[in-house]
Amino acid sequence: MQIFLPIAEVSVNAFVLLGLGGLVGILSGMFGVGGGFLITPLLFFVGIPPAVAVATSANQIVASSVSGVLAHFKRKTVDLRMGSVLLIGGLIGSAIGMQIFNMLKALGQVDLLVTLCYVVFLGIIGALMLVESLRALRRAKGRVGKARERTKHTWVHNLPFKMKFRASGLYISVIPPIVVGILVGMLGAIMGVGGGFIMVPAMIYILGMPTKVVIGTSLFQIIFVTSFNTMLHAYTNHTVDMMLAMILLVGGVVGAQIGTQIGLKLKAEQLRIMLALLVLIVCLKLGLDLLIRPSELYSIGVI
Protein backbone atom coordinates (compact mmCIF):
# COMPACT_ATOMS: atom_id res chain seq x y z
CA MET A 1 0.00 0.00 0.00
CA GLN A 2 1.55 3.28 -1.11
CA ILE A 3 1.16 6.34 1.06
CA PHE A 4 1.87 9.92 0.04
CA LEU A 5 3.72 11.88 2.70
CA PRO A 6 2.48 15.48 2.72
CA ILE A 7 5.70 17.18 3.84
CA ALA A 8 8.36 14.89 2.34
CA GLU A 9 6.26 14.92 -0.87
CA VAL A 10 7.19 11.40 -1.81
CA SER A 11 5.08 8.31 -2.09
CA VAL A 12 6.41 5.33 -0.14
CA ASN A 13 5.14 1.91 0.77
CA ALA A 14 3.41 2.13 4.15
CA PHE A 15 4.41 -1.44 5.03
CA VAL A 16 8.07 -0.66 4.41
CA LEU A 17 7.78 2.26 6.86
CA LEU A 18 5.87 0.13 9.38
CA GLY A 19 8.54 -2.57 9.08
CA LEU A 20 11.28 0.00 9.47
CA GLY A 21 9.63 1.40 12.59
CA GLY A 22 9.14 -2.14 13.85
CA LEU A 23 12.75 -3.14 13.25
CA VAL A 24 14.07 -0.09 15.08
CA GLY A 25 11.49 -0.69 17.81
CA ILE A 26 12.70 -4.29 18.27
CA LEU A 27 16.28 -3.07 18.57
CA SER A 28 15.38 -0.34 21.01
CA GLY A 29 13.43 -2.83 23.10
CA MET A 30 16.31 -5.34 23.03
CA PHE A 31 19.11 -2.92 23.76
CA GLY A 32 17.37 -0.05 25.55
CA VAL A 33 18.51 2.52 22.99
CA GLY A 34 16.31 5.14 21.35
CA GLY A 35 17.14 3.97 17.85
CA GLY A 36 17.31 7.45 16.36
CA PHE A 37 20.81 6.73 15.07
CA LEU A 38 19.36 3.86 13.04
CA ILE A 39 16.09 5.34 11.89
CA THR A 40 17.60 8.45 10.30
CA PRO A 41 20.01 6.63 7.94
CA LEU A 42 17.35 4.01 7.16
CA LEU A 43 14.98 6.82 6.12
CA PHE A 44 17.70 8.14 3.78
CA PHE A 45 17.87 4.69 2.19
CA VAL A 46 14.07 4.64 1.62
CA GLY A 47 14.30 7.94 -0.25
CA ILE A 48 13.10 10.48 2.33
CA PRO A 49 14.94 13.82 1.88
CA PRO A 50 17.65 14.11 4.59
CA ALA A 51 16.22 17.31 6.10
CA VAL A 52 12.81 15.66 6.55
CA ALA A 53 14.37 12.45 7.89
CA VAL A 54 16.32 14.31 10.57
CA ALA A 55 13.36 16.46 11.65
CA THR A 56 10.84 13.63 11.67
CA SER A 57 12.98 11.18 13.59
CA ALA A 58 13.31 13.87 16.30
CA ASN A 59 9.52 13.85 16.55
CA GLN A 60 9.42 10.05 16.66
CA ILE A 61 12.03 9.93 19.45
CA VAL A 62 9.78 12.16 21.61
CA ALA A 63 7.14 9.44 21.54
CA SER A 64 9.43 6.52 22.26
CA SER A 65 11.16 8.43 25.08
CA VAL A 66 7.84 9.35 26.72
CA SER A 67 6.87 5.70 26.56
CA GLY A 68 10.17 4.69 28.16
CA VAL A 69 10.44 7.36 30.87
CA LEU A 70 7.04 6.54 32.40
CA ALA A 71 8.29 3.13 33.51
CA HIS A 72 11.37 4.78 35.06
CA PHE A 73 9.24 7.34 36.91
CA LYS A 74 7.27 4.49 38.49
CA ARG A 75 10.51 2.85 39.62
CA LYS A 76 11.80 6.27 40.83
CA THR A 77 14.96 5.93 38.73
CA VAL A 78 14.95 9.46 37.32
CA ASP A 79 17.26 12.09 38.77
CA LEU A 80 15.13 15.16 38.03
CA ARG A 81 17.74 17.61 39.26
CA MET A 82 20.54 16.14 37.13
CA GLY A 83 18.08 15.82 34.24
CA SER A 84 17.25 19.53 34.46
CA VAL A 85 20.92 20.55 34.48
CA LEU A 86 21.59 18.32 31.46
CA LEU A 87 18.49 19.81 29.86
CA ILE A 88 19.76 23.40 30.18
CA GLY A 89 22.93 22.36 28.37
CA GLY A 90 20.88 20.40 25.86
CA LEU A 91 18.73 23.36 24.88
CA ILE A 92 21.79 25.57 24.36
CA GLY A 93 23.49 22.87 22.30
CA SER A 94 20.39 22.25 20.26
CA ALA A 95 20.13 25.93 19.32
CA ILE A 96 23.80 25.95 18.27
CA GLY A 97 23.39 22.70 16.33
CA MET A 98 20.40 24.08 14.47
CA GLN A 99 22.42 27.13 13.39
CA ILE A 100 25.16 24.87 12.04
CA PHE A 101 22.57 22.66 10.32
CA ASN A 102 20.89 25.59 8.55
CA MET A 103 24.18 27.20 7.60
CA LEU A 104 25.41 24.02 5.93
CA LYS A 105 22.02 23.44 4.34
CA ALA A 106 22.39 26.79 2.61
CA LEU A 107 25.81 25.68 1.38
CA GLY A 108 24.46 22.34 0.13
CA GLN A 109 26.67 20.42 2.57
CA VAL A 110 24.11 19.17 5.07
CA ASP A 111 24.26 15.57 3.80
CA LEU A 112 28.01 15.54 4.27
CA LEU A 113 27.78 16.96 7.79
CA VAL A 114 25.14 14.44 8.84
CA THR A 115 26.97 11.50 7.29
CA LEU A 116 30.32 12.51 8.76
CA CYS A 117 28.79 12.88 12.23
CA TYR A 118 27.29 9.43 11.88
CA VAL A 119 30.47 7.78 10.68
CA VAL A 120 32.61 9.34 13.41
CA PHE A 121 30.26 8.79 16.34
CA LEU A 122 28.96 5.38 15.34
CA GLY A 123 32.52 4.26 14.66
CA ILE A 124 33.82 5.36 18.07
CA ILE A 125 30.86 4.09 20.07
CA GLY A 126 30.64 0.81 18.16
CA ALA A 127 34.34 0.05 18.56
CA LEU A 128 34.37 0.95 22.28
CA MET A 129 31.29 -1.14 22.92
CA LEU A 130 32.68 -4.14 21.04
CA VAL A 131 36.00 -4.07 22.90
CA GLU A 132 34.29 -3.58 26.25
CA SER A 133 31.78 -6.38 25.78
CA LEU A 134 34.35 -8.82 24.40
CA ARG A 135 36.46 -8.13 27.47
CA ALA A 136 33.42 -8.63 29.73
CA LEU A 137 32.64 -11.92 27.97
CA ARG A 138 36.19 -13.17 28.49
CA ARG A 139 36.06 -12.11 32.14
CA ALA A 140 32.77 -13.91 32.67
CA LYS A 141 34.26 -17.11 31.20
CA GLY A 142 37.49 -16.99 33.19
CA ARG A 143 35.82 -15.78 36.39
CA VAL A 144 38.94 -13.76 37.12
CA GLY A 145 39.57 -10.06 37.31
CA LYS A 146 38.27 -7.76 39.96
CA ALA A 147 35.06 -5.77 39.90
CA ARG A 148 35.78 -2.25 38.69
CA GLU A 149 35.89 0.27 41.45
CA ARG A 150 34.52 3.67 40.50
CA THR A 151 37.20 6.32 40.97
CA LYS A 152 36.15 8.52 43.84
CA HIS A 153 38.08 11.63 42.92
CA THR A 154 38.71 12.85 39.36
CA TRP A 155 39.17 16.29 37.81
CA VAL A 156 35.39 16.49 37.65
CA HIS A 157 35.25 16.92 41.42
CA ASN A 158 37.59 19.92 41.52
CA LEU A 159 35.45 22.31 39.46
CA PRO A 160 33.43 25.19 40.98
CA PHE A 161 29.60 25.65 41.15
CA LYS A 162 29.00 22.43 43.04
CA MET A 163 25.50 21.12 43.47
CA LYS A 164 23.94 18.23 45.34
CA PHE A 165 22.23 15.54 43.24
CA ARG A 166 20.47 13.40 45.82
CA ALA A 167 18.98 10.75 43.53
CA SER A 168 22.41 10.08 42.07
CA GLY A 169 24.20 10.43 45.39
CA LEU A 170 26.58 12.99 43.90
CA TYR A 171 27.98 16.35 44.95
CA ILE A 172 29.67 17.72 41.83
CA SER A 173 30.08 20.87 39.78
CA VAL A 174 27.31 21.71 37.30
CA ILE A 175 29.85 22.43 34.55
CA PRO A 176 30.46 18.84 33.34
CA PRO A 177 26.73 17.96 33.04
CA ILE A 178 26.06 21.23 31.19
CA VAL A 179 28.93 20.55 28.76
CA VAL A 180 27.68 16.98 28.20
CA GLY A 181 24.18 18.42 27.62
CA ILE A 182 25.45 20.95 25.08
CA LEU A 183 27.35 18.28 23.11
CA VAL A 184 24.39 15.93 23.06
CA GLY A 185 21.99 18.74 22.12
CA MET A 186 24.17 19.73 19.18
CA LEU A 187 24.35 16.16 17.92
CA GLY A 188 20.60 15.80 18.35
CA ALA A 189 19.88 18.80 16.15
CA ILE A 190 22.37 17.77 13.47
CA MET A 191 21.86 14.01 13.41
CA GLY A 192 18.19 13.73 14.39
CA VAL A 193 19.01 11.52 17.35
CA GLY A 194 18.24 11.66 21.05
CA GLY A 195 21.91 11.16 21.82
CA GLY A 196 21.40 8.50 24.48
CA PHE A 197 24.20 6.43 22.99
CA ILE A 198 26.63 9.21 23.87
CA MET A 199 24.99 10.57 26.99
CA VAL A 200 24.72 7.23 28.79
CA PRO A 201 28.47 6.42 28.67
CA ALA A 202 29.26 10.06 29.54
CA MET A 203 26.98 9.94 32.59
CA ILE A 204 28.55 6.73 33.84
CA TYR A 205 32.22 7.39 33.08
CA ILE A 206 32.54 11.19 33.32
CA LEU A 207 29.86 12.19 35.82
CA GLY A 208 30.08 8.97 37.80
CA MET A 209 26.33 8.48 38.10
CA PRO A 210 24.98 5.14 39.36
CA THR A 211 23.85 2.92 36.47
CA LYS A 212 20.29 2.51 37.74
CA VAL A 213 19.35 6.20 37.32
CA VAL A 214 21.25 6.73 34.06
CA ILE A 215 18.69 5.44 31.54
CA GLY A 216 15.68 7.16 33.14
CA THR A 217 17.50 10.47 33.51
CA SER A 218 18.80 10.44 29.96
CA LEU A 219 15.30 9.64 28.63
CA PHE A 220 13.92 12.55 30.67
CA GLN A 221 16.46 14.92 29.12
CA ILE A 222 15.94 13.49 25.63
CA ILE A 223 12.18 14.12 25.70
CA PHE A 224 12.64 17.85 26.16
CA VAL A 225 15.65 18.32 23.92
CA THR A 226 14.10 16.40 21.02
CA SER A 227 10.82 18.28 21.55
CA PHE A 228 12.76 21.51 21.26
CA ASN A 229 14.50 20.18 18.13
CA THR A 230 11.17 19.18 16.62
CA MET A 231 9.82 22.67 17.23
CA LEU A 232 12.91 24.31 15.72
CA HIS A 233 12.77 22.11 12.61
CA ALA A 234 9.02 22.60 12.27
CA TYR A 235 9.27 26.35 12.73
CA THR A 236 12.34 27.21 10.67
CA ASN A 237 12.40 24.51 7.97
CA HIS A 238 8.85 23.06 7.87
CA THR A 239 10.38 19.61 7.56
CA VAL A 240 8.54 17.60 10.25
CA ASP A 241 6.30 15.07 8.51
CA MET A 242 3.57 14.19 10.98
CA MET A 243 2.22 11.36 8.85
CA LEU A 244 5.64 9.74 8.53
CA ALA A 245 6.23 10.09 12.28
CA MET A 246 2.90 8.45 13.10
CA ILE A 247 3.53 5.42 10.85
CA LEU A 248 7.02 4.91 12.26
CA LEU A 249 5.56 5.21 15.73
CA VAL A 250 2.98 2.47 15.28
CA GLY A 251 5.66 0.10 14.03
CA GLY A 252 8.08 1.22 16.73
CA VAL A 253 5.68 0.72 19.64
CA VAL A 254 4.84 -2.85 18.64
CA GLY A 255 8.47 -3.62 17.82
CA ALA A 256 9.69 -2.33 21.19
CA GLN A 257 7.47 -4.78 23.05
CA ILE A 258 8.67 -7.71 20.93
CA GLY A 259 12.25 -6.54 21.40
CA THR A 260 11.90 -6.45 25.17
CA GLN A 261 10.77 -10.09 25.15
CA ILE A 262 13.70 -11.14 22.95
CA GLY A 263 16.06 -9.13 25.14
CA LEU A 264 14.98 -11.07 28.23
CA LYS A 265 16.00 -14.37 26.63
CA LEU A 266 19.54 -13.29 25.68
CA LYS A 267 22.60 -12.66 27.83
CA ALA A 268 23.66 -9.05 28.42
CA GLU A 269 27.12 -9.54 26.90
CA GLN A 270 25.71 -11.17 23.76
CA LEU A 271 23.25 -8.31 23.41
CA ARG A 272 25.99 -5.73 23.66
CA ILE A 273 28.19 -7.49 21.11
CA MET A 274 25.25 -7.64 18.69
CA LEU A 275 24.46 -3.97 19.20
CA ALA A 276 28.12 -3.05 18.72
CA LEU A 277 28.27 -5.00 15.45
CA LEU A 278 25.05 -3.40 14.26
CA VAL A 279 26.37 0.08 14.99
CA LEU A 280 29.59 -0.74 13.14
CA ILE A 281 27.70 -2.09 10.11
CA VAL A 282 25.68 1.13 9.77
CA CYS A 283 28.89 3.13 10.23
CA LEU A 284 30.67 1.09 7.57
CA LYS A 285 27.86 1.46 5.05
CA LEU A 286 27.76 5.24 5.48
CA GLY A 287 31.56 5.44 5.44
CA LEU A 288 31.85 3.46 2.20
CA ASP A 289 29.38 5.83 0.53
CA LEU A 290 31.82 8.64 1.26
CA LEU A 291 34.89 6.73 0.11
CA ILE A 292 33.70 4.94 -3.03
CA ARG A 293 33.35 6.98 -6.20
CA PRO A 294 29.59 7.50 -6.72
CA SER A 295 28.12 6.27 -10.01
CA GLU A 296 26.47 9.65 -10.54
CA LEU A 297 28.63 12.64 -9.61
CA TYR A 298 25.78 15.10 -9.98
CA SER A 299 22.67 15.44 -7.86
CA ILE A 300 19.66 17.72 -7.85
CA GLY A 301 19.35 19.84 -4.72
CA VAL A 302 16.22 19.37 -2.61
CA ILE A 303 14.30 22.40 -1.30
Binding site: F4, N59, Q60, Q109, L290, Y298, S299, I300
Partner: protein, 247 residues
Amino acid sequence: MRFLIVILALWVAPLSLAAEQVVAALSQNRISITANFDGSEILVFGAIKRTEAVPENSALDVIVTVTGPRKLETILRKARRFGIWVNVETERLGHAPSFYSVAATRPVEDIVASKTDSLWKITADAQILSARRGLAAREALLRIRTDNGLYRRANAGVVLTENTLFNTSIALPANLVEGDYITRILLVRDGAVLDDYSTAINVQKVGIERWLYNLAHNNALLYGLLSLVLAALAGWGASEAFRILRR
Protein backbone atom coordinates in the same frame (compact mmCIF):
# COMPACT_ATOMS: atom_id res chain seq x y z
CA MET B 1 -1.67 50.50 -34.67
CA ARG B 2 -2.01 49.41 -38.27
CA PHE B 3 1.25 47.55 -37.84
CA LEU B 4 -0.22 45.62 -34.93
CA ILE B 5 -3.31 44.69 -36.86
CA VAL B 6 -1.20 43.37 -39.71
CA ILE B 7 0.81 41.24 -37.30
CA LEU B 8 -2.33 39.99 -35.64
CA ALA B 9 -3.86 39.14 -38.99
CA LEU B 10 -0.75 37.30 -40.08
CA TRP B 11 -0.76 35.35 -36.86
CA VAL B 12 -4.47 34.48 -36.83
CA ALA B 13 -4.77 33.83 -40.57
CA PRO B 14 -2.98 30.48 -40.76
CA LEU B 15 -4.93 29.22 -37.75
CA SER B 16 -8.34 30.02 -39.10
CA LEU B 17 -7.44 28.85 -42.57
CA ALA B 18 -5.88 25.57 -41.42
CA ALA B 19 -7.44 22.72 -43.31
CA GLU B 20 -6.95 20.35 -40.37
CA GLN B 21 -7.55 21.11 -36.73
CA VAL B 22 -7.26 19.19 -33.48
CA VAL B 23 -10.25 18.60 -31.26
CA ALA B 24 -9.19 16.92 -28.03
CA ALA B 25 -10.25 16.11 -24.50
CA LEU B 26 -8.68 14.62 -21.39
CA SER B 27 -10.17 11.96 -19.15
CA GLN B 28 -9.60 14.32 -16.22
CA ASN B 29 -8.55 17.92 -15.74
CA ARG B 30 -7.80 17.61 -12.07
CA ILE B 31 -5.73 15.17 -10.05
CA SER B 32 -6.15 14.98 -6.31
CA ILE B 33 -3.23 13.84 -4.22
CA THR B 34 -4.81 11.87 -1.43
CA ALA B 35 -3.05 9.91 1.32
CA ASN B 36 -2.95 6.75 -0.80
CA PHE B 37 -2.10 8.51 -4.08
CA ASP B 38 -0.05 6.15 -6.21
CA GLY B 39 0.34 7.94 -9.51
CA SER B 40 -2.38 8.48 -12.06
CA GLU B 41 -3.16 7.74 -15.65
CA ILE B 42 -4.56 10.42 -17.92
CA LEU B 43 -6.30 9.47 -21.13
CA VAL B 44 -5.92 11.97 -23.95
CA PHE B 45 -8.21 11.44 -26.93
CA GLY B 46 -9.52 13.44 -29.84
CA ALA B 47 -10.17 13.78 -33.51
CA ILE B 48 -8.93 15.75 -36.48
CA LYS B 49 -11.47 18.18 -37.90
CA ARG B 50 -11.23 18.75 -41.65
CA THR B 51 -12.67 21.19 -44.13
CA GLU B 52 -11.13 19.36 -47.08
CA ALA B 53 -10.53 15.77 -48.10
CA VAL B 54 -7.61 13.84 -46.58
CA PRO B 55 -4.48 14.61 -48.64
CA GLU B 56 -3.07 11.57 -50.35
CA ASN B 57 0.47 10.23 -49.84
CA SER B 58 1.37 12.41 -46.93
CA ALA B 59 2.24 11.51 -43.38
CA LEU B 60 0.02 12.67 -40.54
CA ASP B 61 1.32 12.53 -36.96
CA VAL B 62 0.12 13.51 -33.53
CA ILE B 63 2.46 14.45 -30.65
CA VAL B 64 1.26 14.81 -27.06
CA THR B 65 3.46 16.46 -24.43
CA VAL B 66 2.86 17.04 -20.72
CA THR B 67 4.94 19.61 -18.84
CA GLY B 68 5.02 19.78 -15.05
CA PRO B 69 5.48 22.97 -13.00
CA ARG B 70 8.82 24.69 -13.51
CA LYS B 71 11.23 25.56 -10.76
CA LEU B 72 14.72 26.96 -10.30
CA GLU B 73 17.04 23.96 -9.94
CA THR B 74 20.25 23.56 -7.99
CA ILE B 75 22.66 20.99 -9.39
CA LEU B 76 25.45 19.77 -7.14
CA ARG B 77 28.66 18.18 -8.34
CA LYS B 78 30.72 15.82 -6.22
CA ALA B 79 34.49 15.53 -6.28
CA ARG B 80 37.09 13.87 -4.11
CA ARG B 81 38.40 16.11 -1.34
CA PHE B 82 40.59 14.79 1.49
CA GLY B 83 39.81 11.24 0.40
CA ILE B 84 36.03 11.53 0.56
CA TRP B 85 33.41 12.45 -2.02
CA VAL B 86 31.80 15.79 -1.24
CA ASN B 87 29.71 18.35 -3.09
CA VAL B 88 32.15 20.92 -4.40
CA GLU B 89 30.18 22.87 -6.95
CA THR B 90 26.65 24.16 -7.20
CA GLU B 91 25.10 25.36 -10.40
CA ARG B 92 21.78 27.18 -10.48
CA LEU B 93 19.78 26.40 -13.55
CA GLY B 94 16.79 28.36 -14.83
CA HIS B 95 13.29 27.04 -14.64
CA ALA B 96 13.23 23.38 -15.62
CA PRO B 97 9.99 21.37 -15.53
CA SER B 98 9.64 18.86 -12.71
CA PHE B 99 8.05 16.41 -15.16
CA TYR B 100 8.05 16.10 -18.92
CA SER B 101 6.54 13.44 -21.11
CA VAL B 102 6.40 13.10 -24.89
CA ALA B 103 4.22 10.59 -26.69
CA ALA B 104 3.92 10.44 -30.46
CA THR B 105 2.78 8.21 -33.28
CA ARG B 106 6.43 7.62 -34.28
CA PRO B 107 9.83 8.62 -32.86
CA VAL B 108 9.83 12.43 -32.80
CA GLU B 109 13.09 12.53 -34.79
CA ASP B 110 11.29 10.77 -37.68
CA ILE B 111 8.33 13.15 -37.55
CA VAL B 112 9.95 16.58 -37.48
CA ALA B 113 13.30 18.11 -38.40
CA SER B 114 15.46 19.29 -35.51
CA LYS B 115 14.69 22.90 -36.43
CA THR B 116 10.98 22.34 -35.96
CA ASP B 117 11.77 20.47 -32.75
CA SER B 118 13.62 23.44 -31.27
CA LEU B 119 10.94 25.87 -32.48
CA TRP B 120 8.11 23.93 -30.86
CA LYS B 121 10.24 22.53 -28.01
CA ILE B 122 9.03 18.98 -28.48
CA THR B 123 11.70 16.59 -27.18
CA ALA B 124 12.98 16.93 -23.62
CA ASP B 125 16.33 17.99 -25.02
CA ALA B 126 14.70 20.91 -26.85
CA GLN B 127 12.36 21.71 -23.97
CA ILE B 128 14.75 21.70 -21.03
CA LEU B 129 17.01 24.79 -20.91
CA SER B 130 18.12 24.29 -24.51
CA ALA B 131 19.96 27.61 -24.36
CA ARG B 132 22.46 26.04 -21.98
CA ARG B 133 23.06 22.91 -24.03
CA GLY B 134 26.55 21.52 -23.47
CA LEU B 135 26.73 22.65 -19.83
CA ALA B 136 27.60 19.57 -17.75
CA ALA B 137 25.09 20.43 -15.02
CA ARG B 138 22.27 20.74 -17.56
CA GLU B 139 23.12 17.36 -19.11
CA ALA B 140 23.20 15.88 -15.61
CA LEU B 141 19.74 17.28 -14.83
CA LEU B 142 18.41 15.74 -18.03
CA ARG B 143 20.10 12.40 -17.30
CA ILE B 144 19.01 12.16 -13.65
CA ARG B 145 15.39 13.08 -14.37
CA THR B 146 15.30 10.61 -17.28
CA ASP B 147 16.73 7.85 -15.07
CA ASN B 148 14.17 8.64 -12.37
CA GLY B 149 11.34 8.39 -14.90
CA LEU B 150 10.44 12.07 -14.61
CA TYR B 151 11.41 12.88 -18.19
CA ARG B 152 9.95 10.20 -20.40
CA ARG B 153 9.06 9.50 -23.97
CA ALA B 154 6.83 6.95 -25.68
CA ASN B 155 7.82 6.60 -29.32
CA ALA B 156 4.66 4.82 -30.37
CA GLY B 157 2.50 6.02 -27.52
CA VAL B 158 -0.15 7.72 -29.64
CA VAL B 159 -2.54 5.55 -31.66
CA LEU B 160 -3.96 7.21 -34.77
CA THR B 161 -6.96 5.48 -36.36
CA GLU B 162 -8.10 6.13 -39.93
CA ASN B 163 -6.11 9.37 -39.97
CA THR B 164 -8.88 10.89 -37.87
CA LEU B 165 -9.11 9.55 -34.32
CA PHE B 166 -6.23 9.47 -31.88
CA ASN B 167 -5.69 8.48 -28.29
CA THR B 168 -2.90 8.00 -25.79
CA SER B 169 -2.55 7.46 -22.09
CA ILE B 170 -0.02 9.29 -19.99
CA ALA B 171 1.15 7.79 -16.73
CA LEU B 172 1.91 10.36 -14.05
CA PRO B 173 4.26 9.15 -11.29
CA ALA B 174 3.44 9.04 -7.59
CA ASN B 175 5.87 11.76 -6.56
CA LEU B 176 4.14 14.62 -8.35
CA VAL B 177 4.81 18.25 -7.59
CA GLU B 178 1.67 20.33 -7.09
CA GLY B 179 0.65 22.72 -9.82
CA ASP B 180 -0.59 22.92 -13.39
CA TYR B 181 0.53 20.26 -15.85
CA ILE B 182 0.28 21.72 -19.35
CA THR B 183 -0.88 19.16 -21.87
CA ARG B 184 -0.13 20.04 -25.49
CA ILE B 185 -1.29 18.25 -28.60
CA LEU B 186 0.50 18.96 -31.89
CA LEU B 187 -0.86 17.96 -35.27
CA VAL B 188 1.96 17.42 -37.76
CA ARG B 189 1.65 16.80 -41.47
CA ASP B 190 4.81 16.11 -43.48
CA GLY B 191 6.97 17.50 -40.72
CA ALA B 192 5.10 20.80 -40.41
CA VAL B 193 3.02 21.65 -37.36
CA LEU B 194 -0.51 22.39 -38.60
CA ASP B 195 -2.30 22.97 -35.35
CA ASP B 196 -1.79 22.82 -31.63
CA TYR B 197 -4.07 22.61 -28.67
CA SER B 198 -3.20 22.92 -25.02
CA THR B 199 -4.95 22.57 -21.74
CA ALA B 200 -3.93 22.26 -18.09
CA ILE B 201 -4.28 19.43 -15.64
CA ASN B 202 -4.44 20.75 -12.12
CA VAL B 203 -2.61 18.61 -9.55
CA GLN B 204 -3.39 19.37 -5.92
CA LYS B 205 -3.16 17.81 -2.50
CA VAL B 206 -6.57 17.32 -0.92
CA GLY B 207 -8.01 16.25 2.43
CA ILE B 208 -5.60 15.50 5.22
CA GLU B 209 -2.58 16.00 2.92
CA ARG B 210 -3.71 19.55 2.11
CA TRP B 211 -4.54 20.27 5.73
CA LEU B 212 -1.22 19.07 7.13
CA TYR B 213 0.79 20.82 4.42
CA ASN B 214 -1.01 24.14 4.94
CA LEU B 215 -0.73 23.93 8.71
CA ALA B 216 2.99 23.12 8.53
CA HIS B 217 3.67 26.13 6.32
CA ASN B 218 1.17 28.72 7.51
CA ASN B 219 1.05 27.94 11.19
CA ALA B 220 4.34 26.24 11.93
CA LEU B 221 4.17 26.83 15.69
CA LEU B 222 0.79 25.14 16.03
CA TYR B 223 1.91 22.31 13.73
CA GLY B 224 5.02 21.71 15.83
CA LEU B 225 3.00 21.69 19.05
CA LEU B 226 0.41 19.36 17.55
CA SER B 227 3.08 16.88 16.43
CA LEU B 228 4.59 16.96 19.93
CA VAL B 229 1.24 16.44 21.65
CA LEU B 230 0.45 13.54 19.31
CA ALA B 231 3.88 12.00 19.92
CA ALA B 232 3.56 12.33 23.70
CA LEU B 233 0.03 10.89 23.64
CA ALA B 234 1.14 7.99 21.44
CA GLY B 235 4.06 7.24 23.75
CA TRP B 236 1.89 7.37 26.85
CA GLY B 237 -0.88 5.38 25.18
CA ALA B 238 1.53 2.67 24.11
CA SER B 239 3.01 2.20 27.55
CA GLU B 240 -0.48 2.10 29.14
CA ALA B 241 -1.84 -0.31 26.53
CA PHE B 242 0.99 -2.79 27.01
CA ARG B 243 0.77 -2.50 30.80
CA ILE B 244 -2.88 -3.56 30.60
CA LEU B 245 -2.11 -6.31 28.08
CA ARG B 246 0.64 -7.78 30.22
CA ARG B 247 -1.53 -8.05 33.31
